[in-house]
């Protein structure tokens, strides 16, 4: 089985977000980068499926050279090889086109992604890649099993889940509990250094979206404490002061 996993290189979930150059650029100083948590679920399941059924796991990232540490981490966790499309991933359509251009001649059985990136939160790239390649796309997927050429999946729906079946090839946006995150072991870390990482140049897109300015949310004005002996006071405050009840 041939699996492609699309990974993002994103600020750690505990990062403080700020901007520089008149709020036009993300402030990378002091920020730790990780594989997107949802992407890591996808990667973990891809590795499990490969270990059970044989085949290869390729990871792809659309990003600058800075992302290579994150790509190497995916190789250390167990991916076989990697591709980086050398471009700034500012727009989902642009990213999806790069992934599709790479994947269209590679005959992947599965293209796994996260349900969303934690920087753009778009939930968009999987559907776009599916449409561009003429493949079905599903998200969010919480469980994925393969039998022959058929995938059986749990898809989250509002207030519950659906069990769905579909023949491969397909594109899926993954989330927990599809697999447990895997820690790289020493052997993985050593071999990651020599696994192939191919860098390719992007294809151009007209009218790709760029953010002209960033803003931070207004801070909350501070907490008002209610005495535990009279918790019912809370509702008076919610009603008369905050006016939200």
């Amino acid at each position: 089985m041939k699996i492609l996993v699309c990974i993002t290189h994103v600020p750690d979930t505990t990062s403080k977000i700020s901007f520089v150059e008149n709020d036009t650029k993300f402030n990378t100083s002091g920020v730790q980068y990780i594989i997107g948590p949802y992407d890591e679920y996808a990667l973990s399941r891809a590795i499990e499926l490969r270990d059970m059924a044989g085949g290869t796991v390729t990871v792809i990232n659309v990003g600058s050279a800075d992302a290579e540490v994150t790509i190497r981490k995916a190789l250390a966790i167990g991916a076989d090889d990697a591709v980086r499309v050398n471009a700034d991933p500012a727009d989902a359509y642009f990213v999806a086109l790069q992934i599709s251009e790479y994947a269209k001649n590679e005959n992947f059985d599965l293209i796994l992604m996260g349900r969303e990136s934690i920087d753009f939160n778009g939930n968009m790239v999987h559907g776009m890649v599916g449409e561009m390649l003429g493949l079905p796309s599903l998200s969010p997927i919480m469980k994925l099993d393969i039998q022959g050429s058929t995938a059986t999946m749990w898809k989250e729906i509002e207030g519950g889940k659906e069990v769905v079946t579909l023949n491969m090839p397909l594109v899926a946006g993954c989330q927990e509990p599809i697999a447990e995150w895997k820690l790289p072991n020493m052997k993985g870390i050593m071999s990651a250094r020599t696994k192939p990482l191919k860098v390719i140049e992007p294809v151009a897109v007209a009218d790709a979206i760029v953010a002209s300015k960033y803003e931070l949310p207004a801070a909350r004005s501070g907490v008002k404490m209610v005495d535990a002996a009279t918790p019912e006071k809370l509702f008076e405050l919610l009603k008369n002061e905050a006016k939200v009840l």
Binding site: I118, M128, P136, D227, L234
Partner: protein
């Protein structure tokens, strides 16, 4: 040119988030001086459909097929928008929309942005504000392509409500094979529960609740307030509560009027899912719990004593 918005139903009733989205779409339409349409793919009655007129929709296109698969929906909306020459399609943010809306953007060769949180600026440009970094920031972005797809967050606009009625047109759609390859073999749904993403009030419990056997305390307060229930990640990881109730960075993002967090420490990943709530209430026995720093109101104390008292008080104040 015209604008169309996609409207979702829960059962046969139009969802509140969709009414908001309809109002968003019609307010954009009136800024641009074009007609506002809605498309509804569900089993519902004419009274519901006409009521979209109250939210500024002139005409509703109705496909009476609640079972239509997600990918087929993208194709159906594409066909419908071509038939009315729509160049802007607006979706309400939902787990279902997130599964297929971006396919439409490719079909339409449209710029697409998600998590739009305000009406666009239409001063000759079409400029939107959307949230990113899981609610930790916003970006201002101009959409330059002729066609546009927007996914709008809850509370992005104050709905304008009138007495107008929308006209309703029944349309049909025959999906292509590739859109229907998917087979749904089973649906597991907790029936009757208020949807977390739709609720005005959410009561959430964390590891401080000690175990699933204590969840009736959370549920009773929720019931008294007409609220939905949520939980922190460890709670769903330990199977105390179903996964779809888990709120935060890797779970559901909510923006209710009131978010009440009980026995949740306030880890940054949890806050990421709730920080766009209008008012946050924190109940925790540890006065140093980080959640208090992100809260509007706080009570320091034992949840097991406070919750029953709050439930009684809620019943009184709301009757």
């Amino acid at each position: 040119m015209s604008i169309i918005c996609y409207v979702e139903c829960a059962g046969s009733t139009i969802k509140k988030s969709s009414l908001e989205c309809a109002s968003f779409a019609s307010q954009v339409a009136s800024k641009l001086g074009v007609r506002a349409y809605a498309i509804v793919i569900a089993n519902t009655d004419n009274a519901q459909l006409e009521m979209l007129g109250n939210y500024g929709i002139a005409e509703v296109l109705h496909i009476d097929d609640a079972q239509m698969l997600p990918m087929a929906r993208a194709s159906a909306i594409y066909d419908a928008s071509k038939s009315i020459n729509a160049n802007i399609v607006i979706f309400p943010k939902s787990v279902s929309v997130d599964g297929f809306a971006s396919r439409l953007a490719v079909k339409m060769k449209a710029n697409m942005v998600s998590n739009v949180c305000e009406l666009p600026i239409t001063d000759g440009t079409f400029t939107v504000k959307r949230s990113l970094y899981t609610g930790k920031a916003f970006a201002i972005t101009e959409l330059k392509s002729e066609n546009k797809v927007l996914v709008v967050k809850k509370n992005a606009v104050q709905p304008i409500v009138t007495q107008d009625k929308a006209s309703v047109k029944k349309i049909s759609f025959q999906p292509q094979e590739t859109d229907t390859a998917l087979k749904v073999t089973e649906v597991v749904k907790s029936s009757g529960d208020l949807l977390l993403t739709e609720a005005e009030i959410v009561v959430s419990g964390g590891r401080g609740m000690k175990g699933p056997e204590n969840w009736h305390l959370i549920e009773n307060l929720a019931k008294a307030l007409g609220a939905a229930t949520g939980c922190s990640k460890p709670v769903s990881d330990m199977d105390w509560r179903p996964h779809h109730e888990h709120v935060g960075q890797t779970g559901v993002k909510v923006s209710p009027n009131i978010y009440i967090a009980v026995g949740i420490s306030g880890a940054i990943q949890h806050l990421a899912g709730v920080n766009t709530s209008k008012c946050i209430v924190v109940i925790n026995k540890d006065p140093e719990a980080p959640f208090f720093k992100a809260a509007d109101y706080g009570i320091v104390g034992d949840a097991f004593e406070i919750l029953p008292k709050l439930t009684d008080a809620a019943k009184k104040i709301l009757t």
